[in-house]
Symmetry: C2
Subunit: 412 residues, 2 copies
Amino acid sequence: MYVGTEFLKIKESEDAIDIIQNLFDKYYSPESEEIPVADAYGRVLFCDVLSQMDFPPFDKALKDGFAVKAEDTFGANDEIPNSLEVIDFLEAGSTTEKIVENGKTIEISTGAAMPQGADAVVMVEYCDKKGDSVDILKSATPTLDVAKKGSDIEKGKLLMEKGSLLTPGKIGVLLSQGFETVKVFKKPSLGVISTGNEIVTQDMELTYGKIFDVNGNMIKNDAISCGANGEFLGIVKDDYNQLKTKIQESLNKVDILICSGGTSAGLGDVVKHVLDELGQVYIHGISVQPGKPTIVGVVDGKIIIGLPGNPVSALMIFNVFVAPAITKLSGINYDFAKNTTKGILQKRIHSPVGRMQYQLVKIDGDKIYPIFKDSGAIFSLSTADGYVKVLKSVELIDKGEELEVFLFNKLI
Amino acid sequence: MYVGTEFLKIKESEDAIDIIQNLFDKYYSPESEEIPVADAYGRVLFCDVLSQMDFPPFDKALKDGFAVKAEDTFGANDEIPNSLEVIDFLEAGSTTEKIVENGKTIEISTGAAMPQGADAVVMVEYCDKKGDSVDILKSATPTLDVAKKGSDIEKGKLLMEKGSLLTPGKIGVLLSQGFETVKVFKKPSLGVISTGNEIVTQDMELTYGKIFDVNGNMIKNDAISCGANGEFLGIVKDDYNQLKTKIQESLNKVDILICSGGTSAGLGDVVKHVLDELGQVYIHGISVQPGKPTIVGVVDGKIIIGLPGNPVSALMIFNVFVAPAITKLSGINYDFAKNTTKGILQKRIHSPVGRMQYQLVKIDGDKIYPIFKDSGAIFSLSTADGYVKVLKSVELIDKGEELEVFLFNKLI
């Protein structure tokens, strides 16, 4: 029953993180997809983007007023205005064949292309229109209130770097350049299988001895929060053949496969045996609490991770060991190690020597409250803000100590 | 041409924020919708949720081992084990009719319902099975390694409060209670119309004098980032009748309507006149830079906001004045005033006296760099991390001063 298991030493927490990241780097490359710019919020640029046109694409009036040759306004003021002949009117978006020659002007709206011959705009506030002529009441310097073609964005320059998160502002810049689509990181697909004879879905009857499945849709949603397309693939019994068939089917559908449950060394352990047959197991057991019975294997070039059936352990293990690799594959530049806050421990934490412990905590201001319920306690999933690490050499952290809390919130 | 305008005094920035929030409070109430728990990531609970069942739903074994009457193990140790008759085997999810009486035990898996008569589990490590009997090597106290029914979650208690953001963990708790659906805040719908004779969509040819529309899809995406369903409704010319028809059509489709462009007091001003005819204008002009020509009106009980056509101004005005009201309506407990960071100004900022100025800035560590390009400069949308407020009484902020930066990033 334990064939192979005894040869696979339990991994230290830090080693397990490295092994998983290395497997992801070996078996997956980020992929791209082309999507409409209009729907790109929150996605990540897959390539550098170069500007494809000058912006503005023409010399543009920045004010409502009169397009002039600046030299025609020199010396003008309230008392001695310069009178110019108004030969046309240019709204934004329209053009004219007429040319502004000395002594002439074209009335112009903000955003309109400057007419030929003109090099400045005199704001309407400094103009006094009288029929077909206008008195200019202030002198203008060349380029006054004109945005020169390409002054904002020059064609062929680096507009945005690979890895940029597409905010509304960045989407605006892409739109201004006329991009209809943009190449972004494709979301890796992650499927979750829940195993266990005791679990049923929420649309089934809960007979005595059964519990509702949590991990399938919970881990699906956590994967979504990491930038993946998460999918719950359903429940299978703790049965070798059923699980094997389900895993083989699922590998045709998704990039990354998570199996929850069935990973302990107890009576119902099947994930390990299926992975041993179908592929290779790289981790069987991590020296952490909670979540020791974690399995990582590769089948047909795809990574399969067996999480503990206990939802608290499953979510913790997924966050600590798997989420960083998934966000990286999704192109998201998110540093889990920096999503922390500091606070003062309000109650003593006891910890098993020899295992890294991840202790769930709740935060209130700078106060840290450990959540001490048994690791099976579902409710703690609702109240925990994050966790503190208790190193394997540490047996006790006393009340009053300052600790770093690793926060659960990621993209929202 | 300016009918009505002169009677509407320009609003101070703080007053405009209040007026807009009050209009939202008056004309909209948050609405709810029922969605699958499995798809609820990032949504916000509309009501308190009470637990609908005890969890665990039965006395549950927490370890693999043997279900016993604790009293049958008293005094047992390695040297003097107590031998019990094994009468059945219980996997998680299965049940038995058999009762554990004195001298008997049932082998049990983690997660299984405790059989009748047993009150403790002796871990498999402390048991030595021999055919139909087992030697118990350690004494157990009652309830050892048993999670009592309802010990984690008691039926009928407050499980989660209205306004809770549904994280993967909270979704897990709802799943454990068997909820298939959950009532969340419905996303308000927001439509954006871009107005202007000079703008074309990205699938159209950019003839001379035209520019690509930015605001439609940019503001759509910013609305999405605030928890709304954003939609770009298309471009209309700066034409009174076209705009009027488009606004009337759009009000049948969306809750909140944004019109960008056509709001200055210049030649192309049409939004104001249409709103004057169709409904009531509450704000025409806010004493801010950039973005003075902002309009807020109500037509048929729906709020219409006219943003400046300039994308930098439009995004700034939307973020400062509209986004807080939209996140509130979306149920998102997001405090814009707290999404700030402090830093040291690296270059002097000049500001017009008499108007609040929002100065775009870029941040590098604790260094703040103002982005000084003309307010039409699209590229600054890509580089700005946020803005600093320059109060209307302030003319200059000197290099070296510590300032608070309001950050643009919201939900991501």
